[in-house]
Symmetry: C2
Subunit: 257 residues, 2 copies
């Protein structure tokens, strides 16, 4: 098992530095929004950013695999796989809401070992990995303690992201939460890692939506699993819980079971 992601830190930062100026360039400019086969939106900006990041990986680590939201997979069999979401929160991006992010993950044999979340408009970067305690703009951050749902703050991107069965389970949790809030994609996990939010519960996610967030949350002292409590990896089913406190995580697991 790979126990350090430090050798790949520089590449991850290089990818973020390639993505950020492109996103600042396209943000709030008139841009054609296409619909993908799953009816989610995609823009020229998504594709330009993914292309720039893929180019860097191909130059730096030609033996590594790449899975990107927009341009598919190459060398899936490689031990090291970069999992990229050029714009997590394209709906935020196209409506001018600066809470989208570029997500960059490195997986070793299917498990996330390094994660980076870049918010280019606010010029914010979260970074964490095996051997790398989570930082926010280079400052060490940590989750906060919160042992009861009745005291917890929960973020979810949208109540419409669940299927009917998932929604029923989600509502069981949500009704016990002190402060249920909506609408910030990957950014919510960053706030959780900073100790400003206690829970994020989502579903229907793809590996490029969550892989980068796992090391960020866990190296800040939190826990991030699927709805059955299993570690998240390349082959998870898209149901995600992130919690700052293990007690809270346990309570949520019991309610979602």
């Amino acid at each position: 098992m790979q126990n350090s992601s430090i050798p790949f830190l520089e590449t991850a930062q290089h990818l973020a530095e390639a993505a950020a100026p492109l996103l600042r360039h396209y943000f709030r400019t008139p841009i054609v929004v296409e619909e993908k086969s799953d009816l989610t939106p995609v823009t020229l900006a998504d594709r330009a950013v993914e292309q720039a990041m893929r180019h860097i990986i191909q130059q730096t680590h030609p033996d590594h695999g790449i899975l990107g939201e927009e341009m598919g997979i190459q060398q899936i069999e490689a031990d090291y796989l970069w999992v990229l979401d050029p714009i997590d929160g394209t709906k935020s991006f196209i409506t001018g809401k600066p809470l989208f992010g570029t997500l960059i993950a490195l997986l070793y044999q299917g498990q996330p070992i390094l994660g980076l979340l870049e918010q280019p408009i606010l010029r914010e970067r979260w970074l964490g990995g095996l051997g790398i305690p989570t930082t926010f703009n280079q400052q060490r951050i940590q989750v906060r303690s919160c042992t009861h749902l009745s005291a917890a703050t929960l973020y979810t991107t949208s109540p419409h992201m669940f299927n009917p069965d998932e929604f029923q389970k989600f509502e069981t949790v949500r009704k016990q939460i002190k402060l249920p809030l909506y609408g910030c994609d990957c950014y919510a996990y960053g706030l959780l890692a900073m100790g400003l939010v206690d829970l994020v519960i989502e579903a229907g996610l793809a590996p490029y939506d969550y892989c980068a967030l796992v090391p960020i949350v866990e190296q800040a002292g939190g826990i991030m699993t699927d709805w059955q409590g299993r570690p998240l990896g390349l082959h998870s089913q898209g149901q995600v819980i992130a919690a700052g406190d293990r007690h809270l995580h346990q309570q949520v697991l019991e309610l979602l079971a």
Copy 2:
């Protein structure tokens, strides 16, 4: 009827400039969150900002009235009434999400004639009023055209802001919308005025939540009314529609009736 808000522009900007550094100071710092009688949160930051703004108004326009979210009303009978929300989106503020705003409105005989929305972390300012076309950071902005719900983007802070009857009506509209999104308080109206969003539908709002937004939306070419299509003022009931396009506004009114 007062037909220009220009004489009061300088005061509004002065208020925003007093609020912004205080909010930057308190943002993401450990801060005690109290619960008000309506169970909404309030912090030292809300009170400090309102106090600073009230002090300026009392010095500059001692004959004007003031209605603030945290410290109540004074001189309600005055022709000119400043309506202040030191932090619209306190839940965003306390979770570290930089989409809250300071809202500053000037009303003349109960009708909003000047509005300012300040987002201090992003250093963004929306400003509009009678005789003052809406600007974003001093650049003229305008709403966009969108004539059908099936092509529209809608923002709403939370699906839990509606009472059961309102929620049923809201859902009738929401299900016809192309892109229904959640979670940004006053910021959504700013995005609408910039032509990035087509609709905002909310309920349960107080005058300090919407008065500043009316001139911003309308002087950018949009329309903002209650759910019956009436102009919004001090005595409206808290049900709000903002639309960039009058055709869309009309369709929403028919569905909410």
